[in-house]
Symmetry: C2
Subunit: 203 residues, 2 copies
């Protein structure tokens, strides 16, 4: 592009397009929204991003998020929850499960999954910290809520094995697999269909 200000817009679009789930079309729309929206709205966006970045940090017990300086997090401190630990890949999963209102126990965020392809071994995840929490004996159940993928399956197997080795008195479960509610049979892939048949229930 011939003019410096057009190149500035192009550079901004390229940066926006590098964010997760943002393609070039959305990045362009966003850039021109930033240019043309009232200054107060753009300031509000800037403040929201800055506050989100500055006010949270990982919980040192469950590795989900907490208000900066508040350790452990509100969920870890909540004595009214049931004595189970839900093991998830990321803090975003905790947010999803809490938003759904379907679970009332504690969490442990692995901060990733075992992945030979990406060169991520168990030592890089928060598995040792999980085992230490379990060893203290405050929990009745571990729910492995990891995705039904190669990496998720491998990580679940690995954790289940480590728990068995330590002979802890704990129920270890995984999330049930099957058809998503509201979906149709013809859209289900064959693995999901196989799991759904395997997990069939009398009505």
């Amino acid at each position: 592009l011939t003019y410096s200000y057009l190149n500035q817009i192009r550079t901004a679009i390229d940066l926006l397009a590098s964010l997760p789930l943002i393609g070039p079309k959305t990045a362009t729309k966003l850039a021109f929204w930033i240019i043309e929206a009232p200054k107060s709205k753009v300031d509000k966006l800037l403040d929201t991003i800055r506050e989100l970045k500055d006010s949270l940090e990982p919980c040192r017990q469950c590795f989900s998020l907490t208000v900066r300086g508040r350790q452990p997090c509100d969920i870890c401190q909540d004595r009214s929850r049931q004595r189970s630990i839900c093991v998830v890949e990321s803090a975003m999963d905790v947010f999803h499960i809490e938003s759904s209102g379907t679970y009332n126990g504690y969490y442990h965020v692995l901060q990733g999954l075992i992945s030979p392809l990406e060169g991520i071994g168990p030592g890089e995840l928060r598995i040792e910290e999980l085992l230490q929490r379990l060893q203290k004996g405050n929990y009745d159940e571990v729910i492995l809520a990891l995705p039904p993928t190669v990496d998720g399956d491998m990580t679940s197997m690995y954790i289940a094995e480590r728990i068995r080795e330590r002979q802890l008195e704990l129920t270890v479960t995984r999330l049930g697999f099957g058809l998503p509610v509201g979906s149709t049979i013809d859209y289900a892939d064959s693995l999901t269909l196989a799991k759904a048949l395997e997990n069939r229930k009398p009505i």
Copy 2:
């Protein structure tokens, strides 16, 4: 949500989801990217948004964008361009056409389209400013590059009529309509197909 920090994340997601082309899924991914990305990357994003907002303003001649304080814009000041004005809806259109490298004349941004449904009349657009530019007699052609929609058609007609009234010695043209290059016949809607037939050419 029970905890204030989860509500803060929820509020941030809602704000991000109010941006153009951003749905709730993308907004959630973005929020957690902001929380988990290195601080330097988030600072770069904040700086990019702030600079984009602060460094540009509308050109007072063509109503496209210019570096703040540089009036008129680089394109308006470029004496080497051909003596035509391309009339577009928004500054984003100027960016697209300049990026395509297919046009080498001047621009005029209407900042919208005539739209009875949205209550936007000709007086709210930069049509009078366009006519004044044309009246000075520096141009040979006006290219109406407005979208082939009801509002775009109406706005094109209105502008063509005002130019005719003033008896200016100018060619007034519209962009050609037809099949997008690389598209297939079976995906073309019937109006596009009708236009494509009407605009057929000997080979």
